[in-house]
């Protein structure tokens, strides 16, 4: 069962990623990307990394992709906004991601109802990861925080409107 689930999630990840990088519409692409991220999260869980699986969903799907989506919406890439709003509701947009997500959901339900354990012999739970993170990798965490500062400062400076418009 777990094996089947693993291959289903892997195949889903590949298919939805392929769709994400090829779809002409940015919103569609991002929806596929979310499906891919969810599948990846399942893979992580099956590989014995539940903490990473949770983070993948929270940070990637919850923050980064949403940020991307936000920018896509803000720039209004599909030009005709009203027409775009209408098309957003068309099944042709959500049917693909919907089917893929449904498959994923089915697999997840199968997994959970089976009560199968994640992964095989080595499960590195949140405790182990946390200990590693704040013992040997403490310096790394500090550097990572500076990395985020750099990202924030950069984004603030670059994203801001100019005091005087560009000549």
């Amino acid at each position: 069962m777990v094996t089947v689930l693993f291959f289903v999630a892997g195949a889903l990840a590949i298919v939805s990623t392929a769709l994400a990088v090829t779809r002409p519409n940015a919103v569609h692409a991002l929806l596929y990307l979310i499906v891919a991220i969810l599948s990846l999260s399942v893979l992580f869980y099956l590989l014995g990394a539940p903490f990473a699986a949770a983070l993948e969903v929270i940070v990637y799907a919850g923050a980064i992709v949403v940020l991307l989506l936000f920018v896509v919406m803000m720039l209004n890439l599909s030009h005709q906004s009203v027409a775009e709003e209408r098309t957003l509701l068309k099944p042709s947009i959500w049917i693909g991601p919907g089917i893929l997500a449904a498959v994923l959901l089915g697999a997840l339900i199968a997994l959970l109802s089976n009560g199968a354990p994640a992964g095989g012999d080595s499960i590195e739970g949140p405790a182990a990861v946390g200990t590693a993170l704040f013992r040997p990798y403490l310096v790394g965490v500090e550097i990572a925080s500076f990395l985020l500062i750099s990202g924030v400062v950069g984004a603030y400076h670059l994203g801001r409107r100019l005091k005087e418009p560009r000549p």
Binding site: V139, G140, I143, A144, I149, S150, H157, L162, K163
Partner: protein, 473 residues
């Protein structure tokens, strides 16, 4: 984390603290002089902390503060202190925010400091990314000029791809070696050695090399360099050309000193090909350029190609040669871009070769600095660049890297042509423009230090040569 570890981390902490102080300053009230002073103080305290410590101290298995790390940290701090001085002068007339520039510069330096002391994939990757992410914003910093923005984009996209390569390669190496410690990875690579058992490891190593090759702008990963150099403002280009390359190369060298290349001759071959390509392609492309910054971008590709000689020969002599060459290269880079900075303003970059016509008559000091930098880059005797190239050649020939040595000599032969052309142009009697504005004090100081280093190390390299002779890894 023990107190000895904290002590050893002091140089990094100083820069990090300066960054936080500067950020707090911006939060309270914007004042560019305050930010600038904090930046310089951060560099100074960090430098002092470097000199105060000795020996090798491991920090949590991620970093090692040893003489090697300290030496390259000093080079990075000095270079970016120079860049800060230049930037302070350059951005005087910039009416948008200037404080973030110095904060980003501090962050970039911190990334470099992490890189040169990294002994683990985690610190390697985080240091590199801290450096890169800061550079994205620095390169695109001048919001009023489109070219600067274009430079930022053109660095960002390939750099992000290179990061992915780096991470994937690291993952493969981790998978094969079972550790992310650089020395451990090296040992395991030597064991894996023969293919196909080591295929995963070798593939990982090659992907890491691709990413490093991108950061160092080695051919064929060099194509972004010219556009980015040209588009970014001159002081930032100076930082990109010196700090990012020195830091990445120092790490590259440390990484490779742990790998027995004889075990995987193939990687040695790949690096040889990359080195020769870089030397020749870099020089060839530089020949055609009229824009000084583009020319320097391509020529730096060639210079990093030369540095593959000590990398491939390795050992203590290799480390010494690479260290000397990088010092010479950084000093000359700061000198050259510093002169362009002094000539340019934030609204207009004076980086066309034609801007240099008759510079010797208009601005003798700037011209002298520029000529010293060019001659050093060209490897003319009595400049630091000559001594550096001399070290490289002895190391290369000592390890029988004949093909590389020949390519080095050939490429420097070609390079002489484009460097000297720029020297000659400055003596042209055509008076292109009346005397421009005076060189600001801060930039003048940085340039004076740079020329003293370039010429001083060429005439009397003894002290530095002795200092680097003991850079054991």
């Amino acid at each position: 984390m023990s107190s000895t570890e904290l002590n050893a981390l002091l140089p990094l902490t100083a820069v990090g603290a300066a960054c936080l102080v500067a950020l707090a300053g911006v939060a309270v009230r914007r004042n560019v002089v305050f930010t600038f002073v904090v930046t310089i103080l951060g560099f100074a305290v960090s430098g002092a902390a470097l000199f105060a410590s000795s020996g090798a101290q491991s920090v949590g298995g991620l970093l090692v503060i040893d003489p090697y790390a300290r030496f390259f940290s000093a080079v990075l701090l000095a270079s970016n202190a120079g860049v800060a001085l230049l930037a302070f002068s350059y951005f005087r007339s910039y009416r948008e925010n200037r404080e973030e520039l110095f904060i980003l510069l501090l962050l970039e330096t911190l990334g470099g400091l992490v890189l040169v002391s990294a002994v683990h994939f985690a610190s390697f990757f985080l240091g590199l990314e801290l450096l890169s992410v800061s550079l994205y914003s620095l390169l695109a910093y001048v919001r009023t000029r489109k070219a600067s923005f274009e430079a930022g984009v053109k660095y960002f996209v390939p750099a992000a791809v290179a990061s992915a390569f780096l991470l994937f390669g690291m993952a493969l190496l981790y998978d094969a070696a079972g550790t992310m410690d650089l020395a451990g990875v090296g040992r395991s690579l030597a064991r894996a050695g023969s293919l196909p058992e080591g295929a995963v490891a070798i593939t990982g190593l090659v992907m890491v090399i691709v990413a490093i090759g991108f950061k160092l702008a080695l051919a064929p990963f060099h194509m972004w360099a010219a556009d980015v150099y040209q588009g970014a403002s001159a002081p930032i280009t100076a930082s990109l050309a010196s700090v990012s390359k020195v830091a990445v190369f120092a790490l590259f060298f440390r990484f490779f000193s742990g790998i027995d290349l004889r075990a995987s001759a193939l990687v040695g071959w790949i690096l040889t090909v990359v080195a020769i390509l870089s030397m020749l392609v870099g020089s060839w492309l530089a020949l055609r350029q009229r824009n000084v910054k583009r020319m320097l971008a391509y020529s730096s590709t060639a210079h990093l190609g030369y540095l593959m000689l000590p990398l491939l020969s390795g050992g203590r002599a290799g480390a010494a040669a690479a260290a000397f060459y990088l010092v010479a290269y950084s000093a000359a880079t700061i000198a050259l871009f510093g002169v362009i900075t002094a000539l340019s303003s934030v609204d207009r970059e004076r980086d066309d070769g034609a801007e240099l016509i008759g510079l010797a008559w208009r601005k003798p000091f700037l011209s002298a600095v520029f000529i010293a930098g060019l001659l050093s880059m060209a490897g003319i005797p009595l400049t630091a660049g000559f001594m550096g190239k001399f070290y490289l050649l002895t190391v290369g020939v000592g390890s029988s890297l004949w093909a590389l040595a020949a390519a080095l000599v050939l490429s420097s032969g070609i390079s002489l042509f484009y460097y000297l052309k720029l020297v000659a142009v400055q003596f042209s009697r055509q008076e292109a423009e009346p005397h421009g504005p005076r060189t600001p004090l801060a930039a003048g100081f940085a340039l004076a230090v740079a020329i003293v280093l370039v010429v001083g190390l060429g005439i009397y390299p003894g002290p530095l040569a002795n200092a680097i002779a003991s850079l054991a890894l």
